[in-house]
């Protein structure tokens, strides 16, 4: 029988779980600058996560999706994207949004149940968080189509979880990206769980990266706890897309070190040994060890940075908590560019009810 297609998926990884090089490292890792920046950003991201969880526990923020375990992915993608590329995130990418310029205050605002968290001009053309799973994959394909139609050398970058790879939207997006050779990069944060559903139940294939084959795009697997491997994979994919050569699917193998959200209790379905083992591979510590051994980072710098980050975050928290409530009419005024006549009466009722004496006045 003729062989009419042949494909392979490779796993890219440079640093061992213990932060030791497993193969020759790329040139850019020979100077500290970028790696230290990655590290500092990962620490910032993690501290922010801890803080938001604390705010949630004290009722100052709503249900929250922790990013613990995906710091490396968000950090590297955030760093490598060009300013005028467009990010099409999912709900676990607020760190990435922040690294692309969204003020922390707005991150808090969003998770605090306030639409203004997606309004900041700093977001540029970036999409707000997508909550319905995998819908963002298609939006990214649409964004990339716009770039392609206009001949712009911009790239759309979109992320999703391992669970999302089962949904038609994701697969349809890969397909059109291949058919139209779109400048888009799909990054799957394969953190092994979709709420309580393990990766093994999601899909019978050995890797998620091989979903690229069905669409005729590039696919590869990368250790999502290894910033060096991520850096290589993401920069190649961006370059490939920017040169008009089409899309890439990157499966970044990570682990969700947190509960699914603050509304979840993972102990109900996840063995504690598995979680413990995952902490041995986690990205921040891994890079820290490497930097220590290079002599590029020490305990003193760590303390200073944690303090600096802590203050930065606290300033944002204060600003968030002090932010006045949005005007009540915002609930209706942004629905259409112009208020249709048909909505005027409801708008009046909305405002009246919120006033002292109204049915909804607190």
């Amino acid at each position: 029988m003729d062989t009419v297609f042949h494909g392979e998926i490779h796993l890219r990884r440079y640093l061992s779980d213990q932060g030791k090089p497993e193969q020759v490292l790329p040139d850019w890792t020979h100077s500290p600058e970028r790696l230290v920046r990655y590290y500092r950003n990962m620490v910032l991201v993690r501290q922010l996560d801890y803080k938001i969880i604390a705010l949630q526990r004290t009722g100052q923020i709503g249900t929250y999706a922790s990013l613990l375990g995906s710091e490396a992915i968000d950090t590297v993608v955030g760093d490598l994207m060009a300013a005028d590329d467009v990010l099409v995130p999912y709900y676990r990418n607020h760190a990435l949004q922040m690294l692309r310029g969204l003020p922390i205050e707005d991150v808090l605002c969003y998770w605090g149940g306030d639409e203004r968290g997606s309004a900041a001009a700093a977001l540029g053309d970036d999409f707000p968080n997508a909550v319905p799973i995998a819908t963002q994959s298609l939006h990214a394909a649409g964004v990339a189509s716009a770039f392609k139609v206009r001949g712009e050398k911009r790239v759309a970058v979109t992320l999703c979880g391992d669970g999302a790879t089962s949904k038609g939207d994701f697969l349809e997006a890969l397909n059109v990206a291949g058919a139209w050779q779109l400048p888009v990069v799909f990054v799957v944060n394969n953190n092994q769980w979709a709420i309580s559903v393990p990766r093994s139940i999601q899909c019978g294939a050995q890797t998620l990266a091989q979903k690229a084959f069905g669409a005729g795009i590039r696919g590869e697997q990368v250790d999502g706890n290894d910033v060096i491997a991520l850096h290589e994979a993401v920069s190649e994919a961006l370059k490939h897309a920017r040169e008009g050569k089409g899309a890439t699917l990157i499966e970044a193998v990570s682990y969700r070190l947190s509960d699914h959200t603050t509304a979840d209790d993972a102990t109900r379905y996840r063995a504690s040994e598995e979680l413990k083992a995952a902490w041995e591979r986690e990205p921040v510590k891994r890079l820290q060890t490497f930097l220590h051994e290079q002599g590029w980072w020490d305990e003193r710098q760590e303390q200073a940075w944690i303090e600096e980050v802590g203050q930065m975050i606290q300033t944002s928290v204060d600003a968030y908590l002090a932010r006045p409530q949005q005007p009540i009419e915002h609930l209706i005024d942004y629905l259409y560019a112009e208020l249709p006549n048909a909505l005027e009466e409801q708008r009046e009722r909305l405002i009246r009810n919120a006033q002292p004496g109204g049915s909804r006045h607190e």
Binding site: G62, G113, S196, R268, I328, L331
Partner: protein
């Protein structure tokens, strides 16, 4: 003697009960197995009935609906869970185009006795897309029953009825009241009737029509009005397709006044169908316009502002007073 249980526990009890009685009942959905459902509605089923009958699916709502259609035609009774109403849209092609017409299309050769359970509605401080009430999109579909309980006992009896029903049922669970007002529910295995309104309280001055979580505020309003000497008839529609208009018309014929209460945006919601039917068949009974107390025709706000969106007891009282004062 039965213990007082909440609505979500009543759902769970009904599932246990029916799965024991009928081997062909299957439960499937995201996180329904080991985790017992994000609202704990399916907790314990996996342990008792095994992974063959309680299936954690890959994350794909179209698939959940499509699988259920396939299973139902082959003599199984799938009870699928969609995690939140905001994620139900990918199921629509299968529910509308196949589940609701399989019997019709094959002139009775195949049928599609499936249940899709879905928590809906606002008021639990959830993220975006977790608070919608889009029952109108389904209640308009010929062949698709839409059922919403408003108490633990009705949740139990109606869910049994939905599962035993030979046709597809969308079973919407008002999650805002999932854990309010526990009441004793006996695991009798007895169903409650579908396709009929439930008159929760008889009265003579005005008819209040509602369903789901808003029954809570509607009954509160009726209580307050009773104190003021106003006698409200309170009707829980329960089955939103097909609607038992006769009960509502008979009530309005008696009271002459009607206020409809629902959480969904006003325009084109199920309340419109009820008001339109009154305008068509009960016009001469009416002593006042039919009022609707509803959500706004805008997107359900994120949680910080959602209380501005949801109809309140005060809103119902205001509408009732306006209606009573009309002449």
């Amino acid at each position: 003697m039965s213990n007082a249980i909440t609505m979500v526990e009543a759902v769970n009890l009904a599932l246990h009960s029916e799965m024991r009685r009928d081997q062909s009942v299957m439960v499937l959905g995201e996180d329904v197995g080991v985790n017992g459902g994000v609202f704990r509605a399916t907790v314990g089923l996996r342990d008792e009935f095994g992974m063959k009958r309680v299936m954690d699916t890959p994350l794909a709502e179209t698939m959940i609906a499509g699988l259920s259609v396939g299973m139902a035609t082959q003599g199984l009774k799938p009870v699928a869970e969609i995690q939140f109403m905001g994620f139900i849209f990918p199921t629509m092609e299968h529910l509308i185009g196949h589940a609701a017409r399989m019997r019709h299309r094959t002139r009775g050769r195949l049928s599609c006795p499936l249940v899709v359970r879905v928590p809906y509605g606002g008021g639990i401080h959830a993220p975006e897309h977790h608070s919608e009430s889009t029952e109108a999109l389904f209640a308009h579909i010929p062949g698709l029953r839409v059922v919403i309980p408003s108490s633990p006992a009705r949740a139990y009896g109606l869910l049994l009825a939905a599962i035993r029903n030979p046709d597809p049922v969308l079973f919407m669970e008002p999650k805002r009241v999932y854990r309010l007002n526990a009441q004793p529910v006996e695991d009798s295995g007895e169903t409650l009737p579908l396709d009929t309104c439930y008159t929760l309280r008889e009265g003579s001055d005005i008819t209040l029509v509602s369903w789901g979580a808003m029954i809570k505020e509607t009954l509160e309003a009726a209580d307050r009005l009773a104190q003021q000497g106003v006698s409200c008839e309170v009707i829980d529609v329960v089955t939103l397709n097909p609607i038992d208009h006769n009960t509502i018309l008979a009530s309005v014929d008696k009271t002459g006044r009607c206020v409809i209460v629902h959480e969904a945006p006003k325009s084109g919601a199920v309340g419109a169908e009820i008001a339109a039917t009154i305008a068509e068949k009960g016009l001469l009974s009416l002593q006042a316009p039919v009022a609707r107390v509803t959500g706004y025709d805008t997107v359900m706000p994120y949680y910080r502002m959602e209380h501005h969106y949801m109809p309140s007891t005060a809103d119902i009282l205001e509408a009732v007073n306006t209606t009573l004062e009309f002449s």
